[in-house]
């Protein structure tokens, strides 16, 4: 469903010069599977997901989604994915209904089909009470619900969640995670990036640990525990990152 091979992305940065955000990472994610991308800030998670959602172009390497190449067939790829991230806000001056209808129409859904689908989604997500509320008047939880509804309106086979629970309270986070689980049950292929271990532990079938643009480890949580002799995912993650950082210059987090 998602096939990533030797994906590389470099930026030109005033501070660091040529900066490698992704250094040839490869992984595969299958339908009905939640694939977790785990890494500290600046690991390259968002860059990878932006490339997969065709927002950015890779410097080299390939990535396909449902058989469509993200560079050569970006239009087809966009129809296959729904993208939700902490950065993907909703329009302040549009109501929940208007936002989802706008994106549904952009996805080329016929008006009648869209109407039915929207009614179903608004019912399932219990969003009927915010149907006519402007984005600026919504709470963070409401906004995230609308974002997810917007991402699944066209029923895509692949969903990409980039730190989707970051900044949400525990109740809303729980609801978002439940939604993701339900989507998995529907057979969607889900790419989920986070740095919250408990979420990854709970949701992900496969995990890839990224640091400084490099893929340090990949496999199921059980496989990783066995491989690194560490049952606690957080400890495992910390040890991997620390040993990787030791081989390189210290990260200058303060710019």
């Amino acid at each position: 469903m998602i096939h990533v091979s030797q994906l590389k992305k470099t930026y030109s940065d005033l501070q660091q010069g040529e900066f490698v955000a992704l250094n040839g990472i490869s992984f595969d994610a299958m339908p009905g599977q939640i694939y977790g991308l785990l890494g500290p800030n600046g690991a390259g998670k968002t860059t990878a997901l932006r490339i997969l959602s065709t927002v950015l172009k890779p410097t080299s390497g390939t990535a396909t989604i449902n058989g469509y190449d993200v560079v050569k067939e970006p239009a087809q790829v966009r129809h296959q994915i729904g993208f939700v991230s902490t950065n993907t806000a909703i329009y302040d001056r549009m109501t929940a209904w208007e936002i989802i209808r706008f994106f549904g129409l952009l996805y080329g859904m016929p008006a009648e089909e869209l109407q039915i689908r929207m009614e179903v989604i608004f019912e399932r997500f219990q969003m009927n009470n915010i149907r006519h509320i402007l984005g600026s008047a919504m709470s963070t939880g409401m906004k995230q619900k609308v974002s997810i509804a917007r991402a699944i309106i066209h029923d895509p086979p692949v969903l990409i969640f980039d730190e989707a629970t970051s900044g949400l309270d525990i109740l809303v986070s729980r609801e978002v995670l439940k939604t993701i689980e339900r989507l998995k049950e529907q057979g969607k292929c889900i790419l989920f990036s986070s740095h919250i271990m408990s979420e990854v532990h709970r949701l992900c079938d496969q995990v890839a640990i990224l640091n400084r643009g490099e893929l340090l480890a990949e496999g199921t949580i059980h496989e990783l525990s066995n491989r690194y002799k560490q049952s606690d995912l957080e400890e495992l993650f910390f040890n991997l990152i620390a040993s990787h950082n030791e081989d390189r210059e210290p990260v200058n987090t303060l710019v």
Binding site: V55, R78, M94
Partner: protein, 752 residues
């Protein structure tokens, strides 16, 4: 492009903007409130604009003659001043003061000594303040009009006015009184002439009668034709900018842009959808301003009264002008909307976006103000200037001068449409650029930047380095040019030319090549080259010279030289005539610029421009900079074309040596023709030139065609030879700087 997506995005953005209170206020509410408020202010101010009475304190009124009389019943003689002004001059006299001041002044036949003058000034100033008068007038004792032939005639030989130049009322009082005095003096002169049996008309043998033949409608149109196009253009830009900032930078800031970019809408569809929204707001803002201004204008005109409005040039604008304005609105708003969007898309936040408004206005302002100049008129030259051409055409159409406008409709439309097309392309390009859309907010510091420059040095300069070099040259040329005085001799001229060339052109390029690149020789294109190419370039310069002379004459027809330019040219001719010989001229105006300008333009700048991997674009961009670096506008155009040829040679041969050869010969030929003039006809090159009026030497037609054709063949030969050198197309080769890049004295090209 899927237009359904464009339409969806357009409708969404429009709705979004209509719900934004800030945009609504700037675009819709402000125009509706602004002009009525301005109108109210104008009406308030108009009360103060009424002519107020002024008070004059007249000392020695009894000394004034009875005939011709200056005063009648304590007022100015009605024969000397119109009734309205006369009523505004209140004259006060006081016999007590007469002796006091006259006693001080009369002992001196002419102006009193400084000390006395200062004392009188002080006294008068104090009295003026105490009496609250605007003007003091002292009439000394009248003297006998000796020689007037009238025994009892007594006239003043002087009248002293004391005014306070710091007070507008005092200045007005002085002007009013002097107007009366002028006529009174003429009357005195007339009576003196009559006393000598001379006709007073001798003083004004020709009477001038002035009549304004413009109809009221035309007078009104003349004012509106200047104001309305400016209003339209200014508000088109202003109305476009705020929505553009909100739709680009604002969306980035709010995080909604990424959502849209990951939707099925393509980048060009997003760009066009947003552009149409910005255009709509630009048009609506302009129209609302126009309507609000027209409505307020009519109301103010009617309130000001029948007399005052026409005096101020306010009248009903011709109805047809609104049709023309509406027609022009579409391309103007498209152009400004696209430019505003392209600039706003670069910004990371709304706040940063708003900083770009001022520079954008400053760049657009000269284009907007040019048509407002009294001498500006629509001709082929001005019609080719974006925005200005369209404004001049609008002006002509509003004034009803259709016959004058129609011939230039084609060029104006073509330039406007090309401008729109380029601007829209720019927007789409910006939306396709990751570097623009995801520009990170890096803190800028000189040390960080310097480290970055040194760390990122490459063999060849980047496009940024090339642009920086171009800007540095332009700025240095401006300041150095402003600081140095005009040369008066050949020695000064040659010294200044060399200093300017070395300091402003050669040095920046060489220094930048050393500091900013790892391979300065390659960056400056100082590469070995075949002698045959240098020989071909030398010959090419001879062959293409008639072509550039022809281009120069066309440019001078389109944009005739100003009087100042002709004077400068004459001065230059005089200076050149003082040179020690042709060789010296060639060294100063041909060889030196050839070396230094080629190092900078075809060397460093073209090398940097080639990093965009399109030799064609690199040559065009370098030639534009090369043209702009030559201060005279007409010269810049010709220089641009020469720059294209030089760029081609540099790119194909990969070295500036053939360019230096071409450049030096090109300038030398102009110098040679200028120095020799008509005497060329008697020499070995007589077959090539003709002389129409005994002074102006021009190339003959058929020899010119022959030479230009030969030049074309030489260019093809260079192309063919350089292609053999490399089996792969140059544009597709990695940016190594092999394939590049020269200047010349073009003042001579303009005024041969």
């Amino acid at each position: 492009m899927k237009w359904s997506n464009v339409s969806l995005i357009y409708c969404r953005e429009l709705r979004d903007q209509l719900r934004d209170r800030r945009t609504l206020f700037t675009v819709l509410i402000l125009p509706l409130l602004l002009y009525p408020l301005m109108g109210i202010s104008l009406l308030q101010v108009s009360q103060f604009m009424r002519e107020y009475p002024t008070r004059i304190w007249l000392i020695g009124a009894d000394q004034l003659p009875d005939s011709p009389a200056l005063l009648i019943d304590q007022k100015i003689n009605p024969a000397l001043l119109d009734l309205r002004t006369r009523e505004l001059l209140h004259i006060e006299t006081s016999e007590d003061d007469d002796s006091r001041f006259r006693g001080l002044i009369e002992p001196f036949a002419e102006r009193p000594p400084k000390a006395v003058s200062e004392m009188i000034e002080r006294l008068v100033r104090n009295d003026m303040q105490q009496r609250n008068v605007d003007l003091a007038v002292i009439v000394p004792h009248a003297r006998d009009a000796s020689g007037a032939g009238q025994a009892n005639a007594r006239f003043q030989d002087r009248i002293l006015l004391f005014r306070n130049s710091a007070s507008d009322k005092s200045n007005i009082a002085a002007d009013r009184f002097k107007a009366a005095l002028g006529k009174w003096q003429a009357e005195i002169t007339g009576s003196m002439l009559r006393a000598h049996q001379l006709d007073p008309q001798l003083l004004a043998p020709v009477s001038v009668i002035e009549t304004d033949v413009a109809s009221r409608k035309n007078r009104s149109a003349a004012l509106w034709s200047k104001v309305l196009p400016l209003i339209i253009v200014v508000w088109c830009l202003t109305g476009a900018f705020y929505p553009a900032v909100d739709l680009c930078a604002g969306e980035k800031e709010r995080g909604t842009f990424e959502t849209l970019l990951s939707s099925p809408a393509r980048r060009d569809e997003i760009a066009i959808g947003k552009l149409l929204t910005v255009m709509s707001f630009s048009i609506i803002t302009s129209l609302l301003n126009l309507i609000s201004m027209a409505f307020t204008g009519f109301l103010v005109a009617s309130r000001l009264g029948a007399g005052m409005a026409p005096a101020m040039g306010i009248g009903v604008p011709p109805l047809a002008c609104f049709g023309w304005l509406l027609l022009a609105l579409l391309p103007i708003s498209a152009l400004f909307s696209a430019v505003a969007m392209a600039a706003a898309s670069f910004a990371r936040s709304s706040k940063e976006g708003q900083y770009y408004l001022v520079p954008l206005m400053m760049i657009s302002l000269p284009l907007m103000m040019l048509p407002m100049l009294p001498a500006a008129k629509l001709d082929l030259g001005t019609s080719l200037i974006p925005v200005s051409g369209l404004m001049l055409m609008l002006r002509g159409l509003i004034e009803g001068n259709y016959q004058e406008c129609i011939p230039f409709a084609g060029p104006v439309c073509a330039v406007t449409l090309i401008g729109c097309w380029l601007a829209v392309r720019w927007v789409v390009r910006q939306f396709n650029s990751e570097a623009v859309l995801f520009r990170s907010s890096e803190r800028f510091g000189i040390a960080t930047w310097a480290k970055h420059v040194m760390r990122e040095r490459d063999d060849l300069p980047s496009i940024g380095h090339a642009l920086l070099c171009g800007i540095v040259i332009l700025v240095l040329k401006f300041f150095v040019g402003a600081m140095i005085a005009a040369p008066a001799s050949w020695a000064e001229f040659s010294k200044q030319t060399m200093i300017v060339l070395i300091a402003t052109v050669g040095t920046p390029a060489v220094l930048m090549a050393i500091v900013l690149t790892r391979n300065p020789l390659k960056s400056l294109k100082l590469q070995k080259v075949r002698l045959s190419w240098i020989a071909a370039a030398l010959l090419l310069a001879f062959c293409l010279h008639p072509l550039f002379t022809w281009i120069t004459s066309i440019v001078l027809q389109l944009y005739p030289p100003t009087t100042d330019m002709a004077v400068t040219q004459q001065l230059l001719d005089t200076i050149l005539s003082g040179s020690p010989g042709v060789w010296a001229i060639i060294v100063v105006i041909a060889i030196a610029p050839a070396i230094l300008e080629e190092l900078a333009f075809r060397g460093f700048i073209l090398s940097g421009m080639q990093s965009i991997r399109s030799n064609f674009k690199a040559i065009i961009l370098t030639s534009i900079l090369f043209g702009v670096a030559h201060a005279v506008f007409q010269q810049s155009i010709v220089t641009f074309f020469v720059g294209c040829v030089l760029g081609f040679i540099a790119v194909r041969t990969g070295s500036i040596f053939p360019c230096i050869a071409y450049h030096a010969v090109h300038n030398s030929v102009f110098a040679f023709i200028t120095c020799n003039g008509p005497s060329l006809l008697d020499g070995p090159f007589g077959w090539l030139f003709s002389c129409n009026d005994g002074t102006y030497v021009a190339y003959r037609f058929w020899p010119s065609v022959m030479l230009t054709s030969l030049g074309g063949m030489l260019l093809l030969w260079i192309w063919e030879q350089s292609s053999r050198r490399s089996t792969t197309p140059l544009a597709s080769q990695p940016h190594t700087g092999r394939e590049e890049t020269f200047t010349f004295w073009t003042k001579r090209t303009l005024f041969p």
